[in-house]
Amino acid sequence: MAHDTAPTANTRLFRPGYEGHNQISARTLGFWLYMLSDALLFTALFAAYAVLDTPMNAAGGPIASQIVNPVEGFWQTIAILGSVTSYSLATVAMKNGNRGGTALGIVAAIALAVVFLAFGVNDLTTLAAHGDGMDRSGYLSAYFVLILTHAIHMGIGILWMLVMLVQIPRYGFNEMVVARMLNLRMFWQFQATVWVCVYVYVYMIGA
């Protein structure tokens, strides 16, 4: 690409409104790259979990097979996948310019995400109430941090959806709103991907 002027300290990497740039393409690829680095965060947590998942690190406390319930985890799997599918369908409604359908899909996605989180929070609070909180052993620290990191991501996703429920009626499907909806779709689908790894590794192989 030809440049008329040499770059200076004020040269912007990305100029909104410049015809040669496509905001949505740039923002979705940028967000995708962020998600890959977020996946590496989870990878580090999985590595820590693998190391701390031994009877020695349970320090006399419970081990994986005593605290995980694969059947309950399956209901969580259905809830989170339902939420992701619901949000994804909301973006299909957006594609058709249907604001009502988009809002409905987002509301259903939030409801299913709350169901998912209720299962997880119930598990963790029950454990903590029995004296098996995250300070009980190295194993439980790794378990709590892994589950809570995912739950915090879910909470941020719910917050983001609530913001979109305000922005869609306010601004309509303009470039900014569409780019945020698309990034949230990736972010939300990513939560289901992480959960598949957590479910298989912690709930099934640990059972």
């Binding site: 580090a44 020695m56 689908q189 099934m204």
Partner: protein, 127 residues
């Protein structure tokens, strides 16, 4: 070239959304996880085989999500997502694989577990 003043809903990232694909992604992941659950609950496999079978089903679920949820393909609009993902996957494997390998080796060389504790242990990736 599509500029920023064109209709945002005409962007390929929006156009790629498809109800059929998303519902197929939901069904395929639920079926694969259901199969993994059945294998787990039967307790018919030893630890090594369980890891292989359930891990294989998880890998299939992740592939189906990549294609059906994220819509990764080799089109011009999507190619860089696929390329960056493929370049990142080795980092996932190295991070978990090297960590487990190092600590497994450390565990075998340094930890002499009393017989009573060893009997109470359950198999894990480290042991």
């Amino acid at each position: 070239m599509a500029g920023s003043h064109s209709d945002p809903l005409a962007h390929p990232e929006v156009r790629q959304g498809s109800a059929v694909r998303y519902i197929a992604g939901f069904i395929s992941t639920v079926v694969l996880m259901g199969a993994a659950l059945v294998v787990t609950m039967r307790h018919g496999l030893d630890y090594q085989s369980l890891v292989e079978v359930v891990g294989g089903l998880a890998a299939l679920a992740l592939l189906s999500q990549a294609a059906l949820f994220y819509g990764l393909d080799i089109s011009r609009a999507q190619i860089w997502k696929g390329v960056s993902l493929i370049l990142t996957v080795p980092l996932f494997i190295i991070t978990v694989g090297l960590t487990v390998w190092m600590f497994q080796s450390l565990d075998q060389r340094t930890m002499v577990m009393p017989a009573s504790n060893a009997a109470a242990s359950q198999p894990t990736l480290l042991q």
